[in-house]
Amino acid sequence: MPLQWRLVVTIDKHSASTNDATLAWPADREKVDVGTLTVERLVGEGERVCRDVNFDPTALPAGIALSDDPLLSARSAVYAVSYERRAGEVKEPSAVTTPAMGIGAGQ
């Protein structure tokens, strides 16, 4: 079985802060299910998979835009530097092994 997570959007109509991640929004805000994240298989840490890519919170799919949260820009900036530094290192084969067949595959 693939693993799935629901993507839930909290709607704010009362101008709660979107630029301060330390402020929790009140619990009574409307929540809407807008999608499902499905993980269909596992992959190892080898080349060109998770090791050789950077996570950038400002790289977004169509339909999702950046908020005015300054943390997103800051994370994008420092992750880019982090990626540049580790990408330029000589890599040893990963000690972590993952099953060749992932969750859901071969069932």
Binding site: L66, P70, S73, S76, A77
Partner: protein, 187 residues
């Protein structure tokens, strides 16, 4: 005066448009890599489309340069200065091609999305290779310094011709029509 004393209108338009874009890009580049503020994401999003615009413009400009050769340099200029002028121009051309291509290439090698506007993405131009991405990223910085240094030399030489020698070299590139004599009369 006989012969051509100024670059063509189209050549001058390309020169000044690209001068603004290239100088803007150098400062955006320095600004974005030294910032973790909200401006970072904004500057990065501006840097990519301007880079591609420069790549398109420099291709047009190279064709234009070959079709419309620049006016000759004054006969009194020493040979080494003429050679330096030619060499610096070709270095600037090479860097205006190289910088956008390296930027595009390093994002390709890191498999970043290369967003121009909204949902308009460019395809990758290099295979996914983290080490290559890191090396191109460093090269992008080193060549940016070289571009800035060459720009300063270019600006310095232009001002030397325009303010000290007044030999028509500076006026050959001014955006407006040079007076008859191309500035040579003031010597």
């Amino acid at each position: 005066m006989t012969g051509q004393t100024q670059f063509t209108v189209f050549s001058r338009l390309l020169h000044w448009l690209m001068a603004v874009l290239v100088l803007t890009m150098l400062f955006i580049g320095v600004g974005m890599v030294s910032s973790v503020s909200e401006r970072y994401a904004l500057l990065v999003s501006i840097h990519k489309p301007i880079g591609i615009a420069i790549l398109i413009l420099v291709a047009i400009r190279l064709v234009n340069r070959l079709l419309n050769p620049p006016p000759p340099l004054p006969a009194h200029m020493p040979l080494w200065q003429k050679l330096a002028a030619k060499a610096s121009h070709w270095v600037l051309y090479a860097l205006m091609f190289a910088m956008p291509l390296i930027g595009w290439g390093m994002l390709s090698a890191a498999r970043y999305p290369i967003v121009l506007f909204g949902s308009l993405d460019l395809p990758p131009i290099l295979p996914h290779d983290a080490m290559l991405a890191a090396e191109l990223r460093h090269l992008h910085t080193y060549l940016a310094y070289l571009l800035f240094a060459t720009f300063l030399a270019h600006l310095g030489a232009a001002l030397l011709h325009g303010l000290i020698h007044r030999d028509g070299v500076f006026t050959s590139m001014i955006p407006w029509r040079a007076r008859a004599g191309g500035g040579g009369a003031a010597r």
